[in-house]
């Protein structure tokens, strides 16, 4: 069997159910692949891992991938699994945030690590300054959890539809007490989980073949996971080496993830969404993520070969 290593962007959770399902159900084996899945974490940058030769394929968000590409590590998107963005800003009504205009003068929690670009771009369009001596908005680099909003240290925090949002609810706040702003709805969404490889691997026919088999098997895993969310969540739980995840949370997450994966042409990069992502990344007033329009940052060829 051909060996292949996949680096995840985050810890083992239902966000990556498709791959675990593919592995558990033997889809990879059927495609004559032996896949190693490496979980990530808060300070694992998948692009760095692949640049250092630590993985063959990585899951990353497009802003980070494009930035890396401009820094001379030629990453190429071979399949875009999540069609929609799951990022949003969750705010407390009792701290005075009901519409986007209420942000002024508030403290907002934001994820950095390359995930802040959509937020900054959004604030630009709203006309709020986030830096300088007297900013309209106090930005907080939030940690890994949603404590700031629970403790009223921030009026809003970043959440994923499939994860942190539910932690806010678990902590006792009700949906009625919250205002949520989905990036997808604000028109500032960038593409999230996609599969990336080094450009070099696309020059080698054997590798291309291997990657197509991998993408095909992974997408099959995703389809299965979307169809059987509870079973998929259980498979994820079995693969969680920390033993820290709970069934309730993972099943819930799986249902939300299913909404992001999309329905037709699963895994095919939508060029319009790509274009929108690039525009957002190049539009930044304060500091641009990428300066030049990327060339050859994605290929549909692998996805197409995976279809038969």
């Amino acid at each position: 069997a051909d060996k292949l290593t996949l680096q995840l962007k985050w810890v083992t959770q239902a966000q990556f159910a498709g791959y675990y399902v593919a592995k558990d159900k033997g889809f990879y084996k059927d495609a004559d692949l032996e896949v190693t899945i490496k979980p990530g974490g808060p300070d694992v940058a998948p692009s760095q891992v692949i640049a250092g030769g630590g993985a063959d394929v990585v899951i990353d968000w497009m802003p980070a991938a494009l930035a890396t590409r401009e820094k001379g590590v030629p990453l190429v998107n071979i399949s875009q699994v999540f069609a929609k963005s799951g990022m949003m800003l969750t705010c407390r009504k009792d701290m005075g945030v009901k519409t986007a205009n209420d942000f002024k003068g508030k403290t907002l929690g934001v994820w950095f690590f390359g995930n802040e670009y959509p937020f900054l771009s959004w604030m630009d369009t709203l006309g709020f300054s986030t830096s300088g001596s007297n900013p309209d908005i106090t930005v907080l680099k939030q940690g890994f959890n949603v404590d700031p909003i629970l403790q009223k240290q921030a009026a809003c925090v970043s959440t994923m539809t499939y994860n942190e949002y539910w932690q806010v609810l678990d902590a006792g706040l009700t949906p009625e007490e919250l205002t949520v702003f989905k990036y997808e709805e604000q028109g500032v969404a960038t593409l999230e989980d996609g599969l990336y490889v080094m450009e070099d691997s696309l020059k080698d026919d054997a590798m291309v073949d291997k990657l197509s088999r991998f993408v095909a098997a992974s997408l099959k895993g995703w389809e299965y996971a979307v169809a059987n969310p509870d079973e998929a969540a259980d498979i994820v739980l079995e693969n969680d080496a920390t033993g820290a995840q709970t069934e309730k949370h993972q099943r819930r997450m799986m249902r939300e993830i299913a909404k992001l994966v999309g329905t037709n042409k699963v895994g095919r990069l939508d060029e319009a969404a790509y274009q929108r992502t690039v525009d957002i990344l190049m539009s930044g007033k304060s500091d641009v993520v990428i300066a030049k329009k990327p060339e050859g940052a994605y290929t549909q060829m692998i996805w197409e070969r995976a279809q038969n």
Binding site: S47, Q48, G72, F144
Partner: protein
């Protein structure tokens, strides 16, 4: 070095001469030797020549130390020339890397000669660590550029230097937030409380048996665990970072102070006893002076721990300024050069901090055997 021929220089000359027989790079069509550029060849030859002269005279005074340093300076330029114009990764440039390895021996010899000369010259005594540092930076530069290491993995010192120059203001703001606000206050509180608890524990033996085992409990609490909790308790700003530093620095100070307080000899204590000196008098007049070498150990260890603690704590939620914030975000943005620029600032700050402590130590413990060296 007296007597025999210096083996270190012989190795350098050997490596250098051998390197002439091997390719030092690829100019697009062919493998070439040092003579791809007459200047490179001449530089290598010059360094070998000087080493030969030194080998012959075997004099170790300052003049010759500087002479060998000159050989090193000439020598290091040749690889830079090669890397600039040739493709140098892998076996195609084996000669180049043999020569660089040889230069390591030359650098060692230069430093050894300088540190001998440094005994009589303060200026030179600063030159030795500087030379060592420059040599490390040089190796780093040659290897990263020579092997084409991607900058997202490890930028070269040149790129880091550019990043420092381009981001001065940001780096200063980060420095102010992290060092001035978090580190200093955390360090003072942490070391202070460790010291005071040590005194308390020493004063009340009941406490010693009760608190000491629990002191190590505190020390073993990993930063990654307490940082989020401190953020929860003390908010996002520097206070929570200072709290993390307090927890981290507490234990080394406690343990070292206690060990130091035990270091007073029997007869020294008996003398105080014969004066019917009280606990505090004995403490101030004898036990603390004797404990000073240990206390300074703790201060030194803590000075670096405090930097690490502040930076790591900032990974867990901060306002958008600070060295830890910078490092954790710029890694995600693939601006690894800025990351290393920040690390460089941290290293300089930490070293200066440490140096000041060492200076103080020398002032206060001049009488300790470790400073009263026999020749």
């Amino acid at each position: 070095m007296a007597g025999r021929y210096d083996p270190v220089l012989i190795i350098f000359m050997g490596f250098s001469l051998v390197s002439f027989w091997f390719p030092v790079g690829h100019d697009g069509n062919d493998s070439v030797t040092w003579w791809f550029d007459i200047r490179a060849g001449a530089l290598v030859a010059a360094s070998v020549l000087i080493a030969g002269i030194q080998l012959y005279f075997r004099v170790t005074n300052l003049t010759f130390a500087l002479f060998v340093t000159l050989a090193l300076i000439l020598g290091v330029m040749a690889p830079l020339l090669a890397i600039d114009t040739l493709r140098t990764d892998g076996y195609e440039a084996i000669g180049l890397w043999i020569y660089v390895a040889g230069l390591g021996f030359l650098a060692w010899r230069a430093m050894a000669m300088l540190s001998k000369a440094a005994e009589f010259n303060r200026l030179i005594s600063f030159a030795v660590p500087a030379l060592f540092g420059l040599w490390l930076l040089y190796l780093w530069q040659v290897v990263t550029t020579g092997f084409g290491v991607p900058s997202v993995l490890l930028p070269s010192p040149g790129q880091i230097g550019d990043a420092i120059a381009a981001n001065g203001e940001t780096l200063y703001a980060d420095f102010y937030q992290t060092v001035i606000k978090s580190v200093l206050s955390g360090f003072v509180f942490g070391c202070g409380s460790g010291f005071l608890v040590a005194i308390l524990v020493d004063r009340i033996p009941f406490m010693q048996r009760g608190l000491l085992p629990l002191g190590s409990l505190v020390s073993a609490v990993p930063i990654v665990g307490i940082a989020p909790i401190m953020v929860m308790w003390f908010g996002f700003d520097w206070e929570s970072k200072a709290a993390v530093i307090v927890v981290m620095t507490f234990f080394p100070m406690l343990i070292n102070t206690l060990a130091g307080l035990q270091a007073t000899g029997k007869i020294e204590k008996d003398l105080m006893r014969s004066y019917a000196a009280g606990y505090w008098q004995t403490l101030f007049f004898v036990r603390l002076p004797n404990a000073l070498p240990f206390i300074f150990n703790a201060l030194k260890i803590n000075s670096t721990l405090a930097m690490i603690g502040a930076i790591v704590a900032e990974f867990f939620g901060t306002p958008i300024v600070g060295m830890g914030f910078r490092i954790s975000t710029e890694v995600g943005r693939m601006n690894v050069d800025i990351v290393w620029a920040t690390i460089a600032v941290a290293a300089v700050v930490g070293s200066v901090f440490y140096g000041l402590l060492a200076l103080f130590e020398k002032r206060l413990t001049f009488w300790h055997a470790s400073y009263r060296r026999a020749r």
